[in-house]
């Protein structure tokens, strides 16, 4: 399954990319699975996405919880807590 991953603000800088469209393994079916899979890249991925870190995830532009299901072509955005206004 392909999903579109977007990174913003500090995470975009730390990951040194704003977006990617990886092919994810079949056993990755929830957001929690996807985060595990990304953490397996190690380095900044393991560090920034670790359990205790504050970050938010939106699927198709709606904030979601970790048990959200993934679907083909979903837009999954990972970003720090927002600071606008």
């Amino acid at each position: 399954m392909k999903v579109r991953l977007l990174y913003f603000a500090r995470l975009r800088e730390v990951f040194a990319t704003g977006q990617e469209t990886p092919d994810i393994p079949e056993n990755v079916t929830t957001l929690a699975d996807l985060l595990d899979w990304l953490r397996q890249r190690g380095g900044v991925w393991a560090e920034e996405l670790a359990a205790g870190r504050a970050y938010r995830v939106a699927i198709n532009q709606d904030l979601v919880e970790r048990d959200a299901l993934l679907h083909e072509s979903d837009e999954v955005a990972i970003f720090p807590p927002v600071t606008g206004g």
Binding site: L6, F8, A9, R10, A54, A58, Q61, D62, L63, A77, F79, P80, P81, V82, T83, G84, G85
Partner: protein, 153 residues
């Protein structure tokens, strides 16, 4: 209902005027202007750089305004948020709410600001002569949003 994300400055007279001039049912407009503060207290010029998530910002802001409409009488509203590089004293955000009466206008305006601060995907980076850093989210903003209760918190 106007929702806009833009680099340009906005005109308070025009934006607020558009909410009441054509609608004689409007008795109250509460508005909020958020501005770039000089965090360096005059020690060199600092810039605030604002990034956002195009598409989601508009969607999130529209949802916040819709949630406000379900709680209070909102005859019209405008939410304008700037992105890009901004200098101290420049306006960042305008939230204005028109209603029949002031209680609804004030509550809806503050509600929208509280959720904009915690739900709308904008990020601030401070750029100073000594370097740049991303602004940290504040727990006080989470508390401000949480006090409204309900499923949209």
């Amino acid at each position: 209902m106007k929702i806009a994300v833009q680099t340009e400055a906005f005109d308070l007279n025009a934006e607020v005027g558009a909410l009441y001039q054509a609608n004689p049912k409007v008795g109250a407009v509460a508005s909020f202007l958020g501005l770039v503060r000089d965090i360096n207290e005059g020690q060199g010029v600092s810039t605030l750089s604002l990034e956002h998530y195009p598409g989601m910002t508009e969607k999130a802001l529209a949802q916040i305004v819709e949630n406000a409409r379900q709680r209070w009488e909102v005859l019209d509203a405008a939410v304008i948020h700037r992105v890009g590089a901004l200098l101290p004293t420049e306006p960042i955000v305008l939230v204005a709410v028109a209603s029949g009466h002031r209680g609804d206008a004030f509550a809806a305006c503050e509600f929208i600001m509280d959720f904009l601060k915690t739900r709308a995907p904008f990020w601030k980076k401070e750029v100073t002569p000594e370097g740049e850093h991303w602004v940290d989210a504040r727990e006080s903003d989470d508390r401000a949003a949480a006090r409204w209760g309900g499923s949209d918190t």
